[in-house]
Each structure stands twice: as structure tokens, then as C-alpha cells.
């Protein structure tokens, strides 16, 4: 790798230093070393270590005891694991609603009336707020005694519903909270995308009589493909990372019904239920393998893109 493009040297020139002769080959590595080092130590090696730890029984302090695949066997019979897995699926599917919802709001706001910029920023800013605060805000919003939701439901003669205390609603309630900032994110992606839509194509389609849904579906949406791809990536990653909201809003409850894998893993490994690092690592491995399917797809898409250039 270090032999590419040696600068031409005439024999009578004094011999240049090794670095000078291999400058083009060596420089990128010098620039890469710090980033690679950090990334290996804190990201790549830990992934491998987690796989390894998942084969041990370990409380985080004492001796590790090798147990082979028995952590995974235990997972196989663990009802809490299946609850988490089921909730993860619900998260994945419902979180994707952020994409059409974001597109809808973007279309609504894609005008040039006075003050529209302020509206766009204000619609976007739930995304900037930390999920912890979003979680608190929605916990209070859902509160059965004074929450705004039940106050509104009370006016129309419904309720009260204890969204976060009810095993059937709890996951949906948390997902709704998560959709709020996520929709804002998708909206901003689409607003940027809409900005770049080719006006000539739109005019041409208009002359051909396209309008409304047809125009949107056949002319606009195909041009928004890059924005949709990013919206898809960030939404999937966000859905599988859901931890903050659950931790803040319900702490997994009631009766563990709002757990997802990322939360259950934390609970097993680090909370008052005991420090079962090996079992936690096994859950993390399952979560990682689910994510890996998506990562492979993302990378494949990017690879095709790179080849295209």
C-alpha cells in the first residue's frame, strides 16, 4: 500500500528521506491512525468482546465462568425476552409512520407565505429537545389525574385512560411520544428534498394534466428518493435504539410490558435486578444481529452508490 506514486527522483538528486519518497502512500495512514485507534478501542473491539462475554456467567466484578450457549438457551425460554422482541417489532413498524407523517407536514409547510421560516423551525424543534425531556413532557401529558390528554378526553366525555399504566396501551403511548421528534426529523429531510425538486419536471407534468396524488406519487416521490432513504435509515436506527423514552416514562413497566430489547438488556446487566453481564451481552448480541441485517442493507445501498460514481 505504501508503494503507490513515488515522486520522480533523478539519480543526481540527494537521496530524499523515506517519508518524502512514500509521502502519498503514508500520509493517509498518518491521518487515519487517531480515528481508527479510537474507533477500534471503543467500538469494534467491544462488539467482539460482547460476543465473547455472552458465553460467560459474570457479575461484572468477580471471576467469569464459562457457560457456553446456556445464556442463549435461557433466552429461548424467557417470556420477558419475547415481550421485548414483540415490542421491538411494534416499534419498528409504527416508527416508520414518521416518514409519511414527515412528508405530509413538509408538503403542508412547503409554501412561501410570510413567516413560514419561523413555522418550519418551530415544527422542527421537538427534534432538538432531548428524549429525556420529551419523555417527561409526554408522561405529564398522559397523566391520568391532571394530564392534558385526559382533560381533553374528559371534555368529549371519554376517559380517563391511564395510558402508561395499562399494559395494552403502554407501548403505543411511548411510541407516540417517540414519533413526535422523529416526524420532525423526517419533515426537515423532506423540506430539503422538496426544495431540490426539479421545477421543470413539475411544470411538464402539470401540462400533461397530472395533479394531486398522481403528481405526488409519480413525479415528486421518485425525486425525493435520497431523502426517503436517509429518513428510512435514521428511523430504523432510532426505533432499535429506543431506550431513553422507556426508561423515563415507564421504566419498562407496567409488569415489564413496555420493555424492548435495548431496555431489557440494560435492566438485566446494570439495574437492581442484579448484574448479569453475560445474559445481558447475549440479549445485546440478538439486538445487534437484528440491526446487522439493516446495516448490511444500508452498506449495500451505499456501495452501489459509490460504484455508480
Amino acid at each position: 500500500m505504501t508503494t503507490t506514486a513515488v515522486p520522480p527522483t533523478s539519480p543526481d538528486q540527494p537521496r530524499r528521506s523515506w517519508y518524502k519518497r512514500n509521502e502519498i502512500g503514508v500520509t493517509p495512514w498518518l491521518f487515519l491512525i487517531p480515528a481508527i485507534l479510537f474507533f477500534l478501542v471503543y467500538v469494534i473491539f467491544p462488539i467482539i468482546q460482547s460476543f465473547n462475554i455472552s458465553a460467560y456467567q459474570w457479575d461484572g466484578l468477580g471471576e467469569k465462568e464459562y457457560v457456553g450457549l446456556s445464556n442463549y438457551q435461557e433466552l429461548w425460554d424467557d417470556p420477558a425476552f419475547y415481550t421485548s422482541l414483540k415490542n421491538n417489532l411494534i416499534w419498528l413498524v409504527l416508527y416508520l409512520l414518521a416518514i409519511p407523517a414527515g412528508l405530509f407536514i413538509a408538503l403542508f409547510l412547503n409554501q412561501t407565505v410570510t413567516g413560514i421560516r419561523i413555522y418550519k423551525s418551530l415544527f422542527f424543534f421537538p427534534f432538538v429537545i432531548s428524549q429525556v425531556v420529551v419523555g417527561l413532557v409526554f408522561t405529564w401529558f398522559y397523566d391520568p389525574t391532571f394530564g392534558l390528554l385526559n382533560s381533553i378526553l374528559g371534555v368529549v366525555g371519554l376517559g380517563p385512560v391511564n395510558v402508561l399504566g395499562d399494559p395494552t396501551y403502554v407501548t403505543y403511548g411511548i411510541i407516540a411520544a417517540g414519533l413526535w421528534p422523529q416526524t420532525a426529523y423526517c419533515m426537515i429531510l423532506y423540506l430539503t428534498g422538496l426544495n431540490a425538486v426539479d421545477p421543470e419536471q413539475v411544470e411538464a407534468a402539470r401540462l400533461d394534466g397530472a395533479k394531486g396524488w398522481k403528481m405526488l406519487w409519480y413525479v415528486i416521490v421518485p425525486q425525493l428518493k435520497p431523502a426517503t432513504f436517509i429518513a428510512f435509515v435514521v428511523t430504523i436506527v432510532g426505533a432499535l435504539r429506543s431506550f431513553d423514552l422507556i426508561s423515563i416514562m415507564t421504566n419498562g413497566g407496567p409488569f415489564g410490558e413496555s420493555r424492548v430489547l435495548s431496555f431489557y438488556m440494560f435492566e438485566v446487566a446494570l439495574s437492581e435486578y442484579g448484574f448479569r453481564m453475560g445474559y445481558g451481552a447475549a440479549i445485546a448480541v440478538v439486538l445487534f444481529l437484528i440491526m446487522l441485517c439493516f446495516i448490511a442493507y444500508f452498506l449495500y445501498s451505499m456501495y452501489k452508490e459509490e460504484r455508480g460514481h
Binding site: P28, F31, I44, L136, W140, M291, F298
Partner: protein, 282 residues
Amino acid sequence: MFPKPIEKSSRSVQIGYQSMLPVALILWLLPLIAVALFSVKPAADFSTGDYWNLPSQFGGWENYGKVFFESDMPRYLLNSILITVPTAIGAVALSCMAGFALGIYKFKANLWLFFMFVAGNFVPFQILMVPVRDLTLDLGLYNTKTGLVLFHIAFQTGFCTLFMRNFIKGLPFALIEAARVEGVAEWRIFVYVVLPLMKPAIAALMVLIFTFIWNDYFWAVVLTQGAESQPVTAGITSFNAQYRAAYHLMSAGAIVAALPPVAMFFLMQKHFIAGLTLGAVK
């Protein structure tokens, strides 16, 4: 432009649209408006069970005063700043260099290294949790801001390198070739040719990383405990435990905790959105 510009519609449609905008916005921000309202209500309103009327008097000074002077909140805010700023600087510095290497030079491992950074950026945190916590304990950095900063720098380097590399790829390569023909050393090309052109990317990333790290909760819980090193996202749970059921104070605390990234966003909006939507347009 799509949808059809509203100016081309009839007067009544325009008025309808103009009046729908504020209504939609209020609905969209309703949960937040409720919290903002809570935060300026005096304690007396809550003890009489009056939640949803306008504040009987403006209690904002008192509530926010308590948050700033009678709780650990200032400590948590300071911790957040001391964690966020070094992380933003560190991650951007590392990724400027890595992005330069991956964006300018052609070598066999280039695309693989790039994909390593991209893929690492997407992994679930939980797969890193046990080993990273263990490593931080071994380094004696558990429950320190440094421990948190080191991890954040490493993890954010993935996203930042993706960003920087694509940005640098978009720069005119002729500039670098011209510099090489002049015999400029490679590291000088980085410092004097590429770096000045990267200013907008650096600004965008700084703002983004500031927001991401400020809002991090998971790693704060995993790697720190207690007021001396916890950032505000983790601190707010102890704050809420301290003021349990004092909703006016908890609301004020939540707003204070959320404010810095919001301020950052409104001040640096252009950079923020440019960073966030990179790649959304071909």
C-alpha cells in the same frame, strides 16, 4: 414547486391556509406548551388542584430561581458543557483528518475503512455497553467526565467521518492536484488548502454533535453516577426525585435542561439543517 404555490390560489384559500398554520403549530407543540405553562404557575395553583387554568399569578421567577439556586441543576448544566464541548472538538478534529485521508487518497483499504466507520455508527449501544463500562472502570475513569468524553469522541467519529469524507469528496480535486504540482507537502495541503474549505462542514458538525451529546442519556447512566460528573439529562431524574410531585419545579427543570440545544439550533439554524440533511439531495 410542489405543492402548488398558495399565492396562485384564490384569496379565501390563502386566508384559510394562513389561519391554519398557527392552529396546526399549537396542536403540534401542545405537550410542550403545557409544560411551559406549568413552569410559570405558582405552587399554590397545584395545591388547590388547579392545573389547567392560566396561572393565578406569574410564578416563573420563583420557580426558575429555585431551579438555579436551590438545586444541583447548575452543576449538571456545567457538567453537560464540560462533556459536550470537548467531545465536539475531539470528534470533529479526528474526523477532519480521517475524512481527508478517505476523501482524497486512493488506496485499497479506503472503502473498507469508510464502511467500518459507517457501520459502527449504526450499532446498538447495548452491544458496546458491558465492554465499554468495563474498559472505563479499568482505566479508572468510571464516573468521570473524561471517561464519558473519550467514549463519545470515539463513537461520534463514525458519523463525523462519514460526513467529512463525503464533504471532502465534493471539493474540486483540481485544487489538490495543483498544490501537488507546486510541490506542497501533503500535510500542508491539508492545513492550507482543504481545512479552510471545510469551515461550513466543521460548523455544521460542531452544532450537531453538541446537540447529540447534550441529549445523550444512555451513556450518562452507564458511565457516571452522582452530581459531580453526571450531565443534565441524567441529573434531571435525581432533580425530579428531589421535587417529586412539585410539577411547577419539574417543568421548569425540564425546560432549563432542554434549552441549550434549542438555543444552539435557533442560533445556528442554517448549519444545523445543512448538517442534518446532508445527502437528502443529490
